[in-house]
Symmetry: none
Subunit: 256 residues, 2 copies
C-alpha cells in the first residue's frame, strides 16, 4: 500500500461485480457509479460483456463501461486493494465484521484517501460465495425488508455509490433549504409595515371586525412569519392589498 | 386528515411515478420499494402498463405492481396527501425549498406517522414540469456528480426508499419543527381549490392581468406552498378572498 496524497478518494474506490449474468445490470451499475462520481469498474468473468443491453442501460456512462477491467478471478479484481468490502445478506454461518451501508461507506471513503478500496457485489441469484466473503475484511449489509431482502445488484451498487458520495460531501455544509434564493429576505420593519397594511385592509373590508380580530391577526401573522417572506413577495402582497383597498373605496363611492 | 395512531409510517409513504416511458423502470421501482418495506405505488398515465417488462423487473415484488393505482393526472395522485415532495434537478428558474435526500426522507417519514406523504418522480427524459413542481411543498435533490447528474428514475426511487428505511430504523427521531400543530395540514386538493379561488379573485380585481399573470401565480404558489397551509388557514384565506370578491362586485354595481 502506498500513500496517494492529493488523490480524490472517489477515484480510489473500485466497484467489483462478480459473475454478473445480465449485462443490463452491468450497464445500470456503470450509470449509478458515474452519477455518484465513481469511475473504476472491475468485472469478474461476466457472462456476457460487452453487450448492447449494457451499453443501453449505461446511458451517458459509456465511458465507465469502456474503461471497465474484465478479469478472470475474484483475486485478480482485488489484488492491489488495501481494503476489500463484500456485500452480504445478513445470515452467514460464520459471523464476520458486518457494517450497515452507511458506516461501511464512511470507512471505505476514509481509507480511500490512502489506498485502493474494493466494494464487491455478487451474483444476481446467490451473491458472493462463502470463500469470496472470507477474502474480504469487512462485510456490508444494506438494511432491507425481511420479507424481501434481495436487492437487484445494480440497485445495491446505486445505494453504496450514493453513500460513498454522501461521505464525500460530509465535510461540506448540508444543503440550505433556502440557499441561493432569488430575492433578499424581507427585513423585519418591512414585514411589520406589511402587517399594518394587511390589518388596515381587512378592517376596511369588514373582515377583521366580523371574525374575532385578535385571533385572526395572530393566525395570519403565524402563517406569513413561518414562510420567510422575501422582499419581492412583500411588494406583491402589498400590491394586492392596495388593489383590494381601491375596490372597497370605489364600492363605497369614495373614489374621486 | 385524521390522526392515524398506531400506523406504520412506511404504509403512509406513497411513491408516484409520472408519465413513465419504460415499463422496466416501473417494475424496478416496485422491487426497490418492496425491498425497503414500501408498498403504495401510484402511476400517473404510464406509457405502457401492465407490461411483461415491468413484471420481470419487479421480480418478487409483483404484489406491489398488482396493487399499483393508475391515475390520469398528477392531481389525482396527490389529492389526499398532506405533504407532497417532488424530485428535482437543482437548477430551477424560481428557487423552491430544497432538501437533500436524507433530510427530506427524515421529514417525510416523520410526517407519515400522521398523514399520507407523496414522493413524486418525473419522466425519464425531463423529470417533473415546473407546473408539477409548483404543486409540491418541498423539493428533494439526490446529491450527484455535476458531470452526469441524471439518475435513472428507478435508481432514484431506490435511493429514496433506502433513506426512508434508514429513517425507519433510526431510534432517535429529530425534533419535528411543526409537530403537534393545532390544525391538520390542508390536503392537496383543498390547496388547489384555494389557488383557483385566489387566481379568480385577483383576476376580478384586475391585479393578475396587469402584472404578468404566470409569473405572479407561480410566485404566490411558491410562497403559500412552502408555508404548509393548515386547514384553518385555508378557510381564513378563502374568507378573505370572498370578501374581496364581494367588494369588487359591489363597486361594479353587480350586487343585488
Amino acid at each position: 500500500m502506498k500513500t496517494l496524497a492529493g488523490v480524490n478518494p472517489l477515484d480510489n474506490l473500485r466497484i467489483v461485480l462478480v459473475n454478473t449474468t445480465h449485462p443490463g445490470n452491468i450497464g445500470a451499475a456503470a450509470r449509478a457509479m458515474k452519477n455518484m462520481g465513481l469511475s473504476e469498474l472491475y468485472l469478474v468473468a461476466p457472462l456476457k460483456f460487452p453487450a448492447d443491453e449494457a451499453t443501453w442501460r449505461a446511458s451517458n456512462a459509456a465511458d465507465v463501461l469502456e474503461r471497465a477491467v474484465v478479469v478472470e478471478t475474484f483475486d485478480d479484481a482485488i489484488a492491489d486493494c488495501g481494503l476489500v468490502i463484500g456485500s452480504s445478506a445478513r445470515e452467514r454461518t460464520i459471523p464476520w465484521p458486518l457494517l450497515d451501508a452507511r458506516r461501511a461507506c464512511e470507512q471505505a471513503y476514509r481509507e480511500a484517501s490512502k489506498q485502493k478500496v474494493a466494494l464487491v457485489f455478487g451474483r444476481e441469484d446467490r451473491g458472493l460465495t462463502n470463500e469470496e466473503l472470507q477474502k474480504c475484511q469487512l462485510h456490508i449489509n444494506i438494511p432491507s425488508n425481511a420479507e424481501y431482502s434481495s436487492l437487484n445488484v445494480a440497485m445495491a451498487v446505486q445505494v453504496i455509490a450514493y453513500e460513498l458520495r454522501m461521505a464525500h460531501l460530509a465535510n461540506d455544509q448540508p444543503i440550505d433549504v433556502m440557499a441561493d434564493w432569488d430575492f433578499p429576505f424581507a427585513q423585519a420593519d418591512d414585514i411589520e409595515r406589511f402587517y399594518t397594511h394587511l390589518e388596515q385592509t381587512l378592517s376596511e373590508m369588514g373582515f377583521l371586525k366580523a371574525d374575532a380580530p385578535k385571533q385572526t391577526s395572530a393566525r395570519l401573522r403565524r402563517m406569513f412569519q413561518r414562510t420567510r417572506l422575501d422582499a419581492m413577495e412583500i411588494n406583491m402582497l402589498r400590491g394586492i392589498l392596495s388593489s383590494a383597498q381601491y375596490w372597497v373605496k370605489k364600492a363605497r363611492g369614495e373614489n374621486s
